[in-house]
């Protein structure tokens, strides 16, 4: 086991951060709110040009064939930049398509994702319904013309820009996964009105694939969170060093520096868990519980680092003009994407009796 990034990965990180800087600007520099931004096609195109969205997909399917450790490196730079792109979302949609779609659809979607012509995202959440990977109020019906789906998915991040949605729906009391092409949503609410859909899988197969795809998408979120935390901690320590209060730098107040040390400690644990998760994501069969554990560790770090970064910045921490609060906002969202800390721990808890302990060496 070796956590040291390769030279190629260093180069990738530089390429990604360069592309982000050249083609985008964080919301804070534009004085915008911390609301999750709409899809930025130009920024995404810049990442497509250096191959980022295809990193995880096999070359046979039109992807770059690099894997999740590289993707994690790229996602960390995204997180650090304070900008947002649908990387985790396309990984979830792409993973489902890779695992379940017929050859032609798989090559079309993964190839299109890689060359930037397609943007498939998952549409899972339903209004006034607690997070669930096993139930859906959206219903699917089959007829001679094929399947149609009916119901509301909301909110669906990046729905207005998406070319394909991977949706969950209920058929005969089973969970099923479908691809809906050309969804043409204008907001993050997707009202499916007997929309034609391609069946990917049903029942156990669908549930397992969904669980694994979300776990893998979670790795991207973890990596993004590590980047955001890196930057939040950097901003905070800079601030503590430069800001004076009561005639001396904040860095001389031990109540603050000891809390900054705790932020660092949690961040480093999150970094280890994330690098590990990225390596695990490249292995088959997938140890999705290891990925869930990484998310639990990252969640707890994200909460502490995000909240403390704002608190130590004082008033400017909650303004739209300063980047730190935007990072905290993103960390808050990441922890709540595809379940929350409670749902992840409760999921892991149901399997706690199945193993005496958790080995990390393999």
């Amino acid at each position: 086991m070796d956590f040291t990034p390769t030279d190629e990965q260093h180069a990738l990180a530089q390429a990604v951060s360069g592309a982000l800087r050249r083609h985008g600007s964080p919301a804070s520099t534009r004085g915008e709110t911390a609301a999750p931004p709409a899809h930025d096609a130009a920024l995404w195109r810049a990442l497509v040009d250096i191959g980022v969205p295809g990193l995880a997909w096999p070359e046979d399917d039109g992807g770059v064939g690099a894997g999740f450790t590289d993707l994690a490196v790229a996602a960390t730079e995204v997180g650090r930049s304070g900008m947002q792109v649908p990387l985790a979302e396309t990984v979830v949609a792409g993973s489902l398509v890779r695992a379940l779609a017929p050859d032609d659809l798989r090559r079309e979607v993964l190839g299109g994702l890689t060359d930037g012509s397609l943007l498939p995202v998952p549409a899972l959440a339903e209004p006034l319904r607690a997070w669930s990977t096993t139930t859906s109020d959206v219903t699917a019906t089959s007829s001679d013309q094929g399947w149609t789906v009916r119901g509301t998915k909301a909110p669906v991040r990046y729905a207005p820009a998406a070319t394909h949605l991977v949706v969950t729906a209920t058929t005969d009391d089973q969970l099923a996964l479908f691809v809906v092409a050309q969804p043409s949503a204008t907001t993050e609410e997707v009202d499916l009105d007997d929309e034609p859909a391609t069946l990917l899988a049903q029942g156990e197969t669908a549930e397992v694939a969904l669980r694994e795809a979300l776990a893998i998408g979670g790795v991207v979120l973890c990596a993004e969170a590590v980047g955001a935390m890196d930057e939040a901690l950097r901003l905070t320590t800079d601030y503590l060093r430069t800001r004076t209060q009561f005639g001396r730098p904040l860095a001389s107040f031990q109540a603050l520096t000891h809390r900054a040390a705790d932020m660092y400690a949690r961040l480093e644990l999150a970094r280890s868990a994330t690098l590990f998760a990225a390596m695990v994501a490249d292995e088959q069969p997938l140890d999705s519980d290891a990925l869930l554990r990484a998310r639990v560790v990252v969640d707890s770090a994200a909460r502490l680092v995000g909240q403390e970064a704002v608190q130590m910045h004082g008033g400017i921490g909650v303004t739209a003009e300063h980047p730190v609060g935007h990072l905290t906002a993103r960390l808050t969202s990441i922890s709540r994407t595809w379940g929350d800390r409670r749902s992840r721990l409760s999921d892991l808890g149901t399997r706690i009796a199945d193993h005496p302990n958790v080995p990390i060496l393999r």
Partner: protein
């Protein structure tokens, strides 16, 4: 020690409840609870109605509209007002500048300002914080130089809440830069926000609201009779005011309202065949927060009851410390109740406003442990004044 309200206090509680739920204009109630914002005009009207009913400034001296209520009655008044969804009077007016003018102002100042302060005909904002001061309030640099019967004010304030709606500001200004300690040489000045040389710049917060502002003073001429109390004694008045502010911030009635609403929201979210409120893990979290709220509310009654000299007990710092933390905890649970719906801030047809506003509200209220004396400042007050831990 006794538990029950006396018959007189029980009758008082009934009177308050009856007033707020039946007499107070229905259209001004509940708006805040439901997440809607009252317009500035609504806010003025709300306080004016309260003032007409003698319920805007109960803590003031009776000669200026106060009620001479016991701390318990003050708590009952606030609780019933909050429970009915009535916006409490503007704290800048009634908890901050009003008591300072009443305690330290000349008779002329009292007569000139107190009635309009109580009724919100004058909307006050607080000019204390400065960019380079932060928690170290006394290091402020805005100057006021005496020029005949005026002060000429130059400098800048920041985090001035609702300055965009304010008619007047009460400001701390440095009148003696040569004073031996930074706390000396500060004066407490009242100034008209329409004065020439006053510029207000809104600061947008993460949630998109404009609630706080920067206010710049460029040779603003302030009549010298708008000085409160004595020149260079402003820090004493500010400390008096900050103590009142701390007590005011432990607004358990608001948290209670939030928590009640949040339970309703959890009941709206389906989970399996039941609702999110049936989830034992969620129910436990509500139970925890209710217990915490109970303890803070009891402490507010206990501590305010124990101060007899009219100055706030330093123990009120724990109300600010724990109350602001509880606010944040409730708003964090609100995100979890909203669940996946929390991930969009857009106004979507299928997603209720309480859900799409859960994250922006949570982010905005990170301020709760920063403003009005940060948690760090409160801990230092407790450590120094109560525990005697001096470095």
């Amino acid at each position: 020690m006794h538990l029950r309200l006396s018959p007189q206090d029980a009758a008082f509680q009934q009177r308050m409840r009856a007033y707020f739920t039946t007499e107070f204009p229905r259209e001004l109630r509940h708006a805040a609870a439901a997440g809607q914002q009252l317009t500035p005009e609504d806010i003025r009207r709300s306080q004016s109605v309260l003032n007409d009913a003698g319920l805007a400034v109960p803590a003031w001296p009776t000669s200026w509209g106060g009620q001479d209520w016991s701390p318990l009655r003050m708590h009952i008044w606030n609780s019933e007002m909050r429970a009915a969804g009535v916006l409490p009077p503007l704290p800048f007016n009634t908890s901050m500048v009003g008591p300072v003018i009443a305690a330290f102002g000349s008779e002329e100042l009292k007569a000139r300002f107190l009635p309009q302060t109580a009724s919100l005909e004058i909307w006050w904002c607080q000019g204390f914080s400065e960019p380079d001061a932060g928690s170290d309030l006394a290091s402020l640099r805005t100057t006021a130089v005496r020029d005949g019967d005026h002060y000429v004010v130059n400098g800048q304030k920041i985090w001035t809440t609702l300055a965009q709606h304010a008619d007047w500001m009460f400001a701390l200004v440095r009148t003696d830069p040569a004073a031996p300690r930074k706390q000396a040489g500060i004066s407490f000045l009242l100034l008209d926000m329409r004065s020439e040389g006053v510029t207000t710049r809104p600061i947008r917060t993460l949630d998109g609201d404009v609630e706080v502002n920067e206010v710049f003073f460029d040779d603003v001429r302030v009549p010298a009779d708008q000085l409160v109390g004595e020149e260079n004694k402003g820090w004493d008045y500010a400390k008096f005011l900050l103590g009142n502010e701390r007590v005011g911030v432990a607004d358990t009635g608001l948290i209670k309202l939030w928590l009640t609403d949040l339970k309703d929201h959890a009941r709206q979210v389906r989970r399996g065949d039941g609702t999110l409120l049936d989830d034992p893990a969620v129910a436990v979290r509500f139970a925890e927060l209710e217990a915490e709220l109970m303890a803070i509310e009891l402490t507010a009654v206990r501590v305010s009851g124990s101060s007899s000299d009219g100055r706030p007990d330093p123990a009120s710092s724990i109300l600010k410390l724990c109350g602001s933390q509880l606010q944040q905890d409730v708003l964090e649970l609100a995100i979890d109740v909203a669940g996946p719906m929390a991930l969009s801030w857009e106004h979507l047809e299928a997603v209720p406003g309480w859900a799409s506003s859960s994250v922006p509200t949570y982010l905005n209220y990170r301020k709760a442990t920063i403003y009005g004396g940060s948690s760090e400042v409160q801990r230092s007050i407790v450590a120094t004044s109560i525990l005697g831990l001096k470095g």
